[in-house]
Amino acid sequence: MTRADTARTAAVLALTAGTALLAKRAMGRRIERSPLWPMPALDRPVSGTMGLRRTGPDRSERTVRVTGRHAVADRVVQLRLGAPDGAALPDWEPGAHLDLVLPSGLVRQYSLCGDPAEADTWTVAVRLTDDSRGGSRAVHEQLHEGAELRVRGPRNRFPLAEAPAYLFLAGGIGITPLLPMIRAVAAANAPWRLVLGGRTRASMPFLDELAALDGGQGRVTLVPQDEAGHPDLAGALAGMPPEAAVHCCGPAPLLDAVTALCEGERAPGGGLHLERFTAQPPDAAGPNHPFEVELRRSGRTLAVPADSTALATVRAACPDTAYSCEQGFCGTCRTRVLQGPVEHRDELLSDAERDAHMLLCVSRARGAGQRLVLDL
């Protein structure tokens, strides 16, 4: 071996050793912190959490027991539900609902009307409807004290908005999601009013508690149909400060009337918040309205007809938009929403993800003529 060869070998060895040392220094600390040698780990791991983040059917399903049952009005029964072992239940906020899986397998949504601070109990109130297809009848006839059933949720698609003043409009059993809201608003000393319609005074639940919350201030207007006809919605809306938020829950005609009264310039400053209350299955979609999507990054606004989807409209303009299942379960077409009220019809996104994202294939704007601003 010549001198030059020896020198070259030595240089290569020194270089290799140097590189190895450098690499060890660079990676060393990350590797030591990692639970398994020799790879670093992601600080906040993603794998294994997708199911926990998802809110589709059967994700949050659990068994609860009926721990209390009382009639709270004519044909209205209130159920208190607790974990069979008495443990604490997941937290919820006013406006949240629970899916009850009834003994027949039917799934029905009922708003939580109890106190969120009561950690071991969820409370729902159910009216027996004449046209019941089995939901409320099963609750009334089969869910006695001690009975066990499966529930999913709670989920909140009707959260209480932040506003300086509140108007609550309820039709019949639609008072249930509003009751915890009124308690929260009253506790925060914010100004509020409630207009509660119903067939008869005896059919209206929670009147005693509402009177106590009102404290003789005249903030609650009861409108039993047999005594006073239909509530004066226009008057109630006109009597509120312009920045108030309006929360409304009840049968479709009430919601339609309120929506019509709040269109355009008459929209309340704190927003109109609706919870559709029907005997429909929970995931049945409402009617399709036409709406607009604005693609903020491309600077275009497109009209989505009632018989089409946001995805089809966006794809016509941007053919590279990724999508696949077109049924709201694969998540490929998930898109960031910068502005606008979304009616989520997917079964994938969690409530937190719904704050800023939608699935273009199934979800739409909430209400006719609304505009959604997308990050596209």
Partner: protein, 303 residues
């Protein structure tokens, strides 16, 4: 292209009920169970990464047919990722927490193979093409495994949990169904032979590395095994018994992919895959509640 069996690719809605699946879902064979379980460690992060990369390459596709295929591929991979992800909490419930390992796999795909800060233009394009080629190489192996599991009758004979078997075969069948997409895309946007060889070597070594470490991780942390070890000998034996792919078949798949006239359509059977997909309980809205049969099978293995 020689792809004669073109079917329209569509994500399928699936549901699997894991409540009755035992830890050792292949009764009495923890080593094989855990070797296959490594799939649940790699696929959630890996297939999310496929989707992430393919969404970036979508604007570069000029062939509308191929674009349709890639879009279908993206949807299928997204659902695969979710379906395997749902197994992980179940493993944790059974006392085998996969999080230390999956956190590293997350790092591997999201950071190491993620979007690097590169100057726009050639470096960025090079990195995108490198990843597209890597995916084509990995998809060669997912199709290989998919074809294997569709035909692995030994798993049925040994009483493997039907829900797990359905997940593996539904996934395997979709891999077989879309086996040409990744390779066609690679040919469409790049197709260089040197890149194909280089990324194959990388993908193959990474798979071997991650797989053996995942199997060892599971065996060492399995709460029901006193001195759990994953060995190469056990792997060879399982291959001979037909509960894992045989070493010979795996070696033979190497020259196949490196052959200059390779195309995925030359392998596997789309008809078999589609037939399975039409009968899979999980993919047709009939999640098996893991009836008494499974519960009995689990008795001996674990609980």
């Amino acid at each position: 292209m020689s792809n004669t069996e073109r079917t329209e690719l569509k994500a399928r809605r699936v549901a699997f009920d894991w409540s009755a699946t035992p830890l050792h879902w292949l009764p009495g064979d923890p080593a094989t169970t855990h070797t296959i379980n490594v799939l649940h460690l790699l696929l959630p992060a890996g297939e999310r990464w496929f989707v992430h990369v393919y969404k970036q390459v979508l604007p570069q596709i000029r062939d509308p047919e191929l674009r349709k295929d890639v879009i279908g591929f993206i949807g299928q991979e997204a659902v695969h990722s979710q379906a395997h992800d749902d197994v992980l909490p179940h493993l944790a419930e059974l006392g085998l927490d996969p999080a230390p390992y999956t956190a590293q796999v997350d790092w591997f795909f999201e950071k190491l193979l993620g979007d690097r800060t590169l100057p726009p233009g050639r470096p960025r394009q090079w990195w995108l093409m490198e990843r597209v080629a890597l995916i084509a190489a990995i998809e060669h192996y997912t199709a290989f495994l998919g074809d294997w599991v569709l035909n692995a009758e030994a798993l049925d004979r040994r009483g493997a949990d039907p829900v797990m078997l359905d997940l593996l075969r539904w996934h395997g069948a979709e891999e077989v169904e879309h086996r040409s997409v990744a390779f066609d895309l690679f040919l469409h946007v790049d197709g260089g032979y040197r890149r194909r060889v280089r990324t194959w070597a990388l993908a193959f070594s990474a798979l071997v590395f991650l797989w053996q470490r995942g199997a060892r991780f599971f065996m060492e942390n399995d709460p029901t095994l006193v001195d759990g070890r994953a060995g190469f000998r056990a792997f060879l034996r399982a291959g001979r018994q037909g509960v894992l792919p045989s070493a010979g078949a795996m070696l033979r798949s190497v020259p196949t992919y490196l052959s200059r006239d390779y195309h995925p359509s030359q392998e596997c059977s789309t008809a078999q895959a589609v037939a399975y997909l039409n009968s899979s309980p999980g993919a047709n809205g009939r999640p098996q509640p893991g009836g008494p049969h499974t519960a009995a099978a689990s008795g001996g293995a674990l609980r």
